[in-house]
Amino acid sequence: MNTYVPILVLGALAAGFAIFSVDMARRTGPKRYNRAKLDAYECGIEPTPQPAGGGRFPIKYYLTAMLFIVFDIEIVFLYPWAVSFDALGLFGLVEMLLFVLTVFVAYAYVWRRGGLEWD
């Protein structure tokens, strides 16, 4: 049990600091609201109007999401390679470069055919 005490202490300290800073900011900071501040946060871009009553979303959301998932998942193959990089050596490096190259071909296709353009 003793070995876990430092971790618990660290966790308590971190949580305490987080609560303290948030609380202090709220008590001491000035409050000047404007429209941009009160808007929903969407990764720093202009928020898209939500369809009323859970209606339809434009198709481009689907496209972007699917492209993200497909390209994101490819990365999973880099992990086992990274773990056993020593054992695989130059062979592994070359094969991995070929793999990344084919992913880039797919990327080039998507890019050139306008799959990455929002409008």
């Binding site: 689907y62 998932i69 497909v70 998942i73 999973v76 193959f77 086992p80």
Partner: protein, 136 residues
């Protein structure tokens, strides 16, 4: 913990997915059920991998491939279902009955068939053909 627990859980998950594929009518829910079946397989694979102490970790490698293939599959599947939804306004698989053993022309008088081209001459000929088939 014995191997039986994850194995039985995987079978249960697989059967839930199987039930979903057979009982659900919405194509999206059928897709989700297929995903559930694939994830049941993943659970099985990693459980066997740990149990067998596989030095080459074939089970884990297979799991990675399953995950990627499932992502690609779902991307393509959703695209196809989406096309159907945009054309028909429904993704109910029970309503996809244009292709069936009916013994009649599948396209006779069916408004769901788009003209081949937007060339007016073709379209007129096609409509004439359809009208003739309907009267015949």
């Amino acid at each position: 913990m014995h191997l039986a627990y994850p194995a039985v859980l995987a079978v249960l998950l697989f059967c839930v997915g199987l039930y979903g594929v057979l009982a659900r009518r919405n194509a999206i829910l059928v897709l989700m059920s297929v995903e559930l079946m694939l994830n049941a397989v993943n659970l099985n694979l990693v459980a066997f991998d740990v149990w067998l102490r596989d030095t080459l970790h074939a089970g884990q490698a297979l799991t990675l491939f399953t995950i990627t293939v499932a992502a690609a599959e779902i991307g393509i599947g959703l695209a196809i279902v989406l096309l159907v939804y945009r054309n028909r306004g429904t993704s109910d698989v029970d309503k996809l009955t244009d292709l069936a053993d009916t013994g009649t022309l599948p396209d006779s008088g069916s408004a769901s068939i788009a003209p081949a081209t937007d060339n007016p001459a073709d379209t007129a000929a096609e409509q004439a053909l359809r009208a003739r088939e309907q009267t015949a």
